[in-house]
Amino acid sequence: MNIATFIIKNTWRNKRRAALTSLSVAVSLFLLTTLLTALRELTVPPEDVGASLRIAVRNKISLANTLPAKQRGNIQKIPGVALVSPLTFFGGRFKEDDGIGFAQFGLDADLLIGIFGEANLPPEQFDAFKKDRRACLVGRDSATRHGMKIGDRITVKGGIYPCDLDLILAGIYYGTIDDRNLYFHHTFLDEAMGNWGQVGTWWVKVKSAEQVPEVIRAINATFANTSAEVLAETERSFQLGFISMLGNVTAFIGVLSSVVVFTLALVTTSTMSLTIRERFRELAILKALGFKNGEIAAFILAESFMLSAAGALLGVGGGWLLYSKMSVSQATAGIFPFFEVTPQIAGAGCFVAVILSLISAVPPIISACQLTVVDGLKTLD
């Protein structure tokens, strides 16, 4: 026998309690891991490789205000600009979709791949999309969810705009950061709106990453003091602008995470205190045999750490395993296209477990160290 054997045997002496304690730690850490992952997915949206070259241009007043279509030529002329396409959020409703379905965007069909090049789409489907102005592309997630097939007629009822779109599915793409959206010809929307001469936003592809700051500055300067001033920003900034609309959701998740950790600390501290209090007599025997306060404290700390470690393994490891195997995108109807438990999040979960083991060991260590041999021996079993 050695010290490790002694600690392990002590930790699991009351198997049911140890298992329930570890399980409560595991459930809490699983919840914490889930919350931290959700927070990360909300605040650090995923980016594809082309994101660093893309600039979003919107009306400076607000995203809800459109921009004149005639701006396109001016943007195209700016040095460093490779491609420019309108991108207008249609905001329509497909069938009786409950509102968490998929977004529809009108864009320049010829430039789809040029700007948003990461989509995987068979060339013949892309050709079919380009050739027919009624054609549309749908992401694989939405196509699967709604059982769409190539050639299907897709009607999207207008929400923001006073018109409906009667489209034909020409292709199903996949491999982007969000395989849910529907893309259609902007010209089709123009016609449906009676050639209104407006676009929602401009999306610009810049020739090189080094030119992005200069192109942003030039676009903003070009339309300064016009009737439609613009705000050009990187795709990343544009996405973070959306996230800021979530307001206190991130704060709410932060508070929820803190409550989870605090509750967990109370549970583990209470359990450890109870466990050690029941063994005062044994601790007194150990002291009588010559074990010192430091060694007794180390035993208690090791037991606490083992319970927390088992909980962390189950909770954090289980979370990682679960989210890496299941389709969170499907389970959340696409609200979270990705749900990755990163090494940092797993590390944070394990760190919390270590801190918990320290916190929960402190009160029983203090009690054990204050215990005298004689007082301990008087304790009833």
Partner: protein, 222 residues
């Protein structure tokens, strides 16, 4: 071996002082099997605890092999106990999750001995108390007498010069009690070993080489 001079111990219960030991002076030579008797609250257990370094005296000296136990700090006292004292308690006080062999090996974890040597010594101690065949049993799988013999094996495994036994037969039937007392008596015949036993039982006291009576914290003549 044990030299006690003017030893006193005062407890405070509810703020009121209680004189547990009052100016005790006593010499216990090596090899003696000393029995302490007396009514409850007479101070016999307190005296034994002070000699074994489990408690601190309020005043006086208690030298064991030339070391004044009362002057050692907590850490030194723990080291001293691990090297010099073996404990046997009325309620056996074995660690329930450890086997008989592991319980006996427990005090050796404080030494620098190799695991193999520790095991060898624990097996030898168990053999000495006649429980080699129960080495792998947990305390709950042993009878009271066997548990107490395991406790005695744990007390002697480090080969201490002083063994203190607090009512070692209090929870045993007559047959087991006799076995335990014979074992303690045999140990007292080993060179240099001193045994101090607290008991209420005159039959148990008969195994000792000297019997001292305490009453109200003082030694009394019988």
């Amino acid at each position: 071996m044990v030299s006690i001079r003017d030893l006193s111990k005062v407890f405070y219960r509810g703020g009121q002082p209680v004189q547990a030991l009052d100016n005790i002076s006593l010499d216990i030579p090596s090899g003696e099997f000393l029995v302490l008797m007396g009514p409850s609250g007479s101070g016999k257990s307190t005296l034994m605890h002070l000699i074994a370094g489990m408690e601190r005296a309020t005043q006086g000296t208690c030298e064991v092999h030339g070391v004044d136990v009362a002057k050692l700090d907590e850490s030194s006292l723990a080291d001293w106990r691990s090297r010099n004292v073996g404990f046997v308690f009325q309620t056996f006080n074995l660690i329930p999750v450890l086997t008989a062999l592991e319980n006996v090996e427990m005090p050796l974890l404080l030494t620098k001995l190799s695991p193999a040597r520790r095991r060898e010594m624990a097996e030898a101690a168990l053999d000495l108390v006649g429980l080699s065949d129960r080495a792998a049993h947990l305390p709950k799988q042993l009878s009271g007498g066997q548990e107490q013999r395991v406790a005695i094996a744990r007390a002697i495994v480090t080969d201490p010069l002083l063994i203190v036994a607090d009512e070692p037969t209090g929870n045993l039937d007559a047959h087991s009690a006799q076995e335990v007392l014979e074992l303690l008596q045999a140990l007292s015949h080993e060179p240099g070993k001193t045994i101090i036993m607290v008991t209420h039982d005159p039959k148990a006291a008969a195994y000792g080489s000297r019997v001292l009576h305490l009453e109200k914290g003082s030694l009394v003549a019988c």
